[in-house]
Amino acid sequence: MRRKAGVGAIQKQKLEQEKYRDKGTEIQENQFEQMTKQMETFRVNLEEFASKYKNEIKKNARFRRQFTEMCASIGVDPLASGKGFWSVLGIGDFYYELAVQIVEVCMATNYKNGGLISLDELRTRLIQARGRRKEHQEITNEDLLAAAKKLRIFGNGFSIVPIGRGKHLVQSVPGELSMDHTAVLQQASLSGNAYISKSTLCKELKWEPGRTQKALDHMVKEGLAWLDEQGENETLYWFPSLFTACIVSKE
């Protein structure tokens, strides 16, 4: 008897559990369906919005930034894929086009700056190169950074070097810059001059002379820095990419 009743109880329990599970799945499915519906509506709306304001997004730099910010906050990258509905927007195309032009400018100025260019110079040259057409005029530094980030897929041949105070350099030569090299560029940029000396670096960064010299030698070897032996006390290391006359030169 005990045994029989035991089986019944277990079976009953099992049945209940199954019922609960079924209910759970049902609820889950409902929620999922609702979510899918919501996402679908959202997607449609976003798509509508984006295609409606496609030109505005392309033309108006502020609008474009707000749009990409909005996308970022909901975890969508309109640049990420050339497929799907994002491709109809041509947002990705805008940045890819920009990226190609960035490469062109970098190649064209490589002979004088050794493959290191400030974001501001890059922007000035790009706007010149893109011509006077109205829809091409507004390119912000944020746009350039977004586009340049896309170029990372080419490996370390292309990278962005932050040099403090919101300034950036774009490096377009193979051979990654280490933290030390970036720090050297930062110091040169922060000093407001286009040069840096070994003693200044040692003082500002509290580095050993050996470490400083190694970093500077590397910059010279990469063609990024030029030596000046006619400074007042010691050798000065100059960076054409930070030198104003070089930046504004029409060449």
Binding site: Y111, Y195, V220, W226, D228, E229, Q230, A245, C246
Partner: protein
């Protein structure tokens, strides 16, 4: 005389220090080459005298207190300028006037180019088959708007010799009579 438009490198202090890195040095020498040719073209000069260059604004930018490849004694290094002149010679834009290589002729057009320019002028103006004096070519009224107006006589003679070698002209040089006949 036209004002020279200095390139950005001219105000870039390290431009006046010979760069140790080979790629950078190649860029530096190329920029020096074109600057020298431009400077000699604008100022219509032809001769570099290595003993006198330290006083030339071309090699001495007093605004930034830099002299081309300065040595420890503050003087311009003559080896450094020889290096650039040799580079110019390689592309046919310069040649030494003496064995010690102290004085150099600068050709902002190569001699062959000059020959061609002068021959084209002679063709366009109906001087084929006739004789021009060298004075007429570089100082005459017919050539005031030509590139070779005011050209150094030595450079002119050397350019005409390239034409002579191609049987396009014959130089007539005796005493003070210097002329050329175009064929």
């Amino acid at each position: 005389m036209a004002e020279i438009e200095w390139p950005w490198q001219y105000s870039f202090p390290p431009f006046f220090t010979l760069q140790p890195h080979s790629d950078t040095r190649a860029k530096q020498l190329a920029a020096w080459k074109s600057l020298i040719l431009e400077y000699y073209r604008i100022t219509k000069q032809a001769i570099v005298d290595i003993r006198e260059v330290h006083s030339s604004p071309l090699f001495n930018n007093s605004a930034i207190n830099r002299i081309l490849f300065r040595q420890d004694n503050g003087k311009l290094s003559s080896e450094a300028i020889l290096l650039i002149l040799e580079e110019l010679a390689k592309s046919g834009n310069a040649s030494p006037l003496d064995k010690t290589k102290q004085r150099w002729l600068i050709y902002w057009h190569t001699l062959e180019e000059w020959g061609e320019i002068i021959y084209n002028w002679a063709q366009d103006n109906g001087f084929i088959g006739s004789v021009c004096t060298l004075f007429e070519l570089t100082q005459g009224e017919d050539t005031t708007h030509q590139e070779f107006y005011g050209l150094d006589t030595e450079v002119l003679i050397r350019a005409l010799k390239t034409l002579e070698a191609n049987k396009k002209a014959e130089l007539i040089l005796f005493d003070d009579n210097q002329g050329v006949k175009f064929f």
